[in-house]
């Protein structure tokens, strides 16, 4: 069948020779005119800085006098930084914690809200509310929650059950999980909205059929909702992975990378290189390395998830 179709289509699919007049008359020139500004803006503001960043990474500059070329010295400097392995491990640890504990939360919230017959808008609002709070304000608020003394909000609550007081951000072991707890709170609502929209797109006939067959809520979740959400879950997981590898605001404002570098991340290192040390070469070198790593991660992720996806 397909063979016949191909033979039939061949004559019509042959390209006509390019004709400027016809191209102009059919609006080709106008289309280009429309595209030029956006392409230029994109090139200048998006790719320009990226190229500049790559150039900076092989330079030594104070941004005032002329820069000098140093080859791969900046890369050598950042790769031999004794703090880099810990920063990389911390970043990976955060990504892992986020994936294991933070990632399922918005899916569960979305499913929960979707199951509600009444007042679902209110739960929707409540779930989304943290996303409206600016990160700096949210973090300052949570700093109070995490007060390590017995009078801290979380410690007071734990005290009712005879637990604590916990040191929260003041302990090397607890600092990173505390950051994950905050970012889950801050980010889950916004992600849940996306899942909720995707759930809305699942055919209700599937659920009706399952209900007739006597499937319970967990069974429906496992056999219908999650498989149907597979593609969006994969995309959200990639976005979350990329996001977690760029963790900066939370350790910067909560702990400054402490205690004893327990929350020092790659992005925080880049910031410190650039804005504390004034070493832009090292900062961009590490940025380029992180970008390459994230590109590779995305490619690997793409091929791995492609195998899992239905053909």
């Amino acid at each position: 069948m397909s063979k016949t179709l191909a033979i039939e289509l061949r004559p019509t699919s042959r390209r006509k020779p390019f004709n400027v007049v016809r191209w102009y008359q059919s609006g080709g020139f106008t289309a280009v005119l429309f595209a030029v500004p956006i392409v230029l803006i994109f090139l200048y503001f998006t790719w320009g800085p990226i190229v500049q960043g790559v150039v900076l990474s092989v330079q030594r500059t104070n941004l005032v006098s002329a820069a000098s070329w140093v080859g791969l010295k900046n890369f050598e400097f950042v790769l031999t930084d004794p703090g880099l392995p810990q920063a990389a491990l911390n970043t990976g640890y955060y990504a892992l914690l986020g994936l294991v504990f933070g990632f399922p939360v918005p899916i569960l919230i979305a499913v929960f809200i979707n199951e509600l017959r009444k007042y679902d808008w209110m739960y929707n609002l409540l779930a989304y509310l943290p996303a409206v709070v600016p990160p700096v304000a949210g973090i300052l608020l949570w700093k109070f929650f995490y007060d390590p003394s017995g009078e801290g909000i979380f410690n007071t609550m734990l005290g009712w059950f005879g637990v604590g007081p916990l040191p929260w951000l003041n302990s090397e072991a607890m600092a990173m999980p505390s950051l994950v707890l905050y970012t889950t709170w801050a980010g889950a609502g916004a992600t849940a909205i996306i899942y909720l929209a995707a759930i809305g797109g699942i055919s209700s006939e599937l659920y009706e059929a399952a209900e007739i067959d006597g499937a319970g809520i967990w069974s429906r979740l496992w056999h219908i909702t999650i498989p149907q959400l597979r593609n969006i879950i994969f995309i959200m997981m990639l976005l979350q992975l990329i996001g977690t590898f760029q963790l900066f605001t939370e350790p910067f404002l909560f702990t400054g990378g402490g205690p004893n570098n327990a929350t020092q991340t790659i992005m925080l290192k880049i910031y410190n290189y650039a804005f504390i040390n004034g070493d832009y070469g090292a900062a961009t070198a590490l940025s380029v390395l992180l970008a390459i790593f994230l590109c590779l991660l995305s490619v690997v992720y793409h091929f791995v998830t492609k195998r899992w996806s239905p053909s």
């Binding site: 990226i50 500049q52 205690p259 992005m267 650039a274």
Partner: protein, 461 residues
């Protein structure tokens, strides 16, 4: 697949945002010429000046704008454009590179040194001489803003040294004499313990630890115990028994006496808030904490006490810090001369002209700002005393409670080489000692020393 490509682009693009912050033209004019004759004092010139008070500080702003008018009247060839631009880490370097910084603005002394070392500031010696400002500056203060050749790059005017701030009310509650703050580190430890034992919920002594302040204060403590952090040439670390002693003292107060409370991740703002709220008995601070503790955080003036930095192993000294006026490396010689004249008028006129002195103090007082906070005068002591006499009716700072600080004659020691970078490497050392009972102090110092040495050799290029 298309979507996937989009994600890939997104990944690269996000990184691009960061690089965008730094991606600016690498070209520039370099430092200014040392030839003073290039600046024509009568040429028509326009300069921008930073740190204009924002509209919410009405009295300050009015006073600032009046000063601009007076300056323009006295210098008809100079047009001054005020700008609310002030120093911010995130945007400073990009603006410096883009040439959009004001011709002059204020910067913390610690960054001034880094800017000088990075050759990001113009050599101001000829212009300051031409403006007649160089001779008026306190030579002690000037030492902080010179390079190895003796050239002056910035103008120091708000200098201070680190001391110890304490809460007089807490001292009284703990049974301590608020008029006898500790002068040695042994006394600090004993007082902190007494506060901890007698005033529940209060940390006897608290330490700055994050955003490079941990290293800053460890350096201060090291100085006070007779040690040093980097060698004189600024090429290597030189930490010894004094740094170990400082860390051991913190370890003992934290783990033996338990007199340091439960919060060990303090940056400057957080510790000032906690201190002002009466949760901390003693903390290492410069007296400028007063300008924030009382007007901003509502501490009672009567509760505030400031003394000199406690010492150990004899009298050794303290660390200096403060505010300086910096100048834009991309400005023309005429602009730099005009900016030097402006700084002289804005920051130094009050020391020589009674009307300016009184007007400034009156505006500060009306804005509820602290007037007369002690510090190191940027001019000779006698001139400073005369100035304080002029504004004495407006002084709202309880100077009696600063006696321990103002009567101190401790030697002033400049910051270590590559200061912020060095402090950053020492932050985790202090944090580890305060959060891990089994911290190995010697090993922590040696690891930090390796990092600092590496940074110093990178900074040297």
């Amino acid at each position: 697949m298309k979507k996937q490509n989009l994600r890939l682009t997104l990944a690269v693009g996000t990184i691009g945002i960061l690089t965008a912050l730094t991606a600016c033209s690498a070209g520039g004019t370099g430092s200014a010429s040392t030839d003073a004759s290039k600046a024509d004092p009568n040429a028509k010139v326009t300069i921008t000046v930073g740190d204009e008070p924002t509209a919410d500080k009405a009295a300050d702003r009015a006073n600032f704008l009046t000063m601009v008018q007076q300056f323009e009247k006295a210098n008809p060839n100079i047009t001054v454009k005020p700008s609310t631009e002030y120093w911010q880490a995130q945007t400073f370097q990009a603006k410096l590179a883009g040439g959009t910084l004001p011709t002059t603005m204020n910067v913390s002394l610690t960054y001034s040194k880094q800017l000088i070392a990075n050759h990001q500031l113009p050599n101001m010696t000829p212009y300051l001489k031409q403006a007649g400002l160089l001779g008026e500056l306190n030579p002690l203060a000037l030492n902080n803003v010179k390079d190895s050749k003796g050239d002056v790059y910035t103008v120091p005017y708000g200098l201070f040294s680190v001391g110890i701030s304490y809460n007089r009310a807490i001292f009284t509650k703990a049974g301590l004499d608020p008029n006898k703050p500790p002068t040695t580190w042994d006394e600090v430890r004993a007082d902190a313990k007494q506060i901890h034992d007698n005033v529940p919920g209060v940390a006897g002594y608290a330490q700055l630890t994050t955003n490079n302040t941990g290293g800053w204060m460890l350096t201060t403590m090291t100085y006070s115990m007779g040690g040093t952090v980097t060698n004189k040439a600024g090429t290597k670390t030189d930490m010894g028994p004094a740094t170990e002693q400082a860390l051991q003292l913190l370890h003992n107060m934290r783990w033996v006496d338990n007199s340091m409370g439960s919060q060990f991740l303090y940056n400057q703002d957080d510790i000032r808030k906690s201190f002002s709220a009466g949760k901390i008995g003693m903390v290492l601070q410069a007296p400028d904490i007063y300008t924030q503790a009382i007007p901003t955080y509502g501490m009672k003036p009567a509760d505030f006490g400031q003394s000199a930095l406690p010492q150990a192993n004899g009298t050794n000294g303290t660390l200096t810090g403060g505010t300086i006026a910096m100048f834009n490396a991309k400005a023309t010689p005429n602009q730099l001369l005009a900016a030097a004249k402006w700084v002289k008028f804005k920051e130094f006129e009050k020391y020589f002209d009674k009307t300016t002195a009184v007007a400034g103090a009156k505006a500060d007082s009306a804005s509820n700002k602290a007037v007369g906070t002690p510090g190191l005068p940027p001019v000779a002591d006698s001139i400073n005393s005369r100035y304080l006499g002029w504004i004495k009716d407006y002084i709202n700072v309880p100077l009696d409670q600063f006696k321990g600080y103002t009567s101190s004659t401790l030697p002033l020691i400049p910051e270590p080489a590559d200061a912020q970078n060095t402090y950053a490497a020492l932050d985790p050392v202090v944090q580890k000692v305060l959060t891990d009972q089994n911290a190995n102090i010697k090993q922590l110092i040696s690891t930090a020393a390796q990092t600092i040495d590496r940074n110093l050799s990178q900074a040297a290029g």
